[in-house]
């Protein structure tokens, strides 16, 4: 098996595991379909934008939860936005943590919110590493003259 085929297999196995473990759902495949010759780096751009934006949102959530009188509605608004963005890139696990987070906000449960915030940060971090690895694999494949398989 040549290097390109090996990497392609690695890519395939990796994306399968990401799906199996719930890191990504089929919305990610939809996102990939939007990439074309006119915007060859579209997915990487969107994902980078997502992590930049989510960093801001997570900081905002953290600050809001540190206030003496917590404005749960405001926290909920941040989580709602974060959930929406997560859905666009197919970040299933993140989306699900956000659902719990919103429940804690609605119940005005500070401890619950803090727990969820921590989870969101962890999941975000994990997803970022995994996607970075995936993109590196893709770069390798393309650099070696191969093409990235279609994600279904």
């Amino acid at each position: 098996m040549d290097a390109v085929t090996q990497w392609q297999k690695q890519w395939f196995d990796y994306t399968q595991s990401l799906r199996r473990e719930g890191f990504l759902d089929d919305q990610f495949a939809q996102l990939k379909k939007l990439q074309d010759e006119s915007s060859p780096d579209f997915v990487v751009e969107v994902v980078s934008l997502f992590f930049q934006d989510s960093e801001k949102l997570l900081n905002n959530m953290g600050r809001a939860l540190e206030q003496n009188v917590v404005n749960f509605k405001q926290v909920d608004a941040y989580v709602h936005q974060f959930k929406g963005s997560s859905a666009w890139i197919g970040a299933l696990r993140l989306k699900n943590v956000c659902i719990n987070f919103r429940n804690s906000c609605e119940a005005q449960n500070l401890e619950g919110c803090l727990r969820c915030l921590q989870q969101v940060q962890q999941e975000s971090s994990a997803l970022k590493s995994k996607l970075e690895y995936l993109f590196r694999l893709e770069q390798q494949i393309v650099a070696a003259g191969g093409s990235i398989p279609i994600m279904e």
């Binding site: 919305q27 939809q30 996102l31 379909k33 939007l34 074309d36 915007s39 579209f42 751009e45 969107v46 934008l49 997502f50 934006d53 608004a77 709602h80 936005q81 959930k83 929406g84 963005s85 859905a87 666009w88 890139i89």
Partner: protein, 161 residues
Amino acid sequence: MEASSASSSSSSSSSSSKGFMENVEQPHVLAVDDSIIDRKLIEKLLKNLSCKVTTAENGLRALEFLGLGDHQNSSLEDNVSKVNLVITDYCMPGMTGYELLKKIKESSIMKEVPVVIMSSEYVPNRINKCLEEGAQMFMLKPLRQSDIKKLRCHLMKLERT
């Protein structure tokens, strides 16, 4: 998931409104959303179907672009809408998509232009409220290419009636 309007708007007069895909090569769409990611994705989805896209990050900016801002007076020459379609998020800080929809429908220039409302939440009351106010369709986020295709077909059918 989408819901089409129960009562379609009256047929557009030829002088004051452009058709969405039928007569126009590259329909101009105004996409309004407070999230930068949503704007980027919606823009791409529309551009992939040959639309010219202008984005706005809130209702006020959208109204300004359309020439409906508070400080603006629509001149006699501005009797044609700048865009063929407005697609807006419902949940936005400040002016919501619903409020933006109302302002557009109140305007003599813009009232024939279809307005589509998007949301990441499926709330029937919200949807009905928007449809009653004249929204053409409601669409659930995240949108897919197939949703935009359906939108196009739906609006072309409207054009023909």
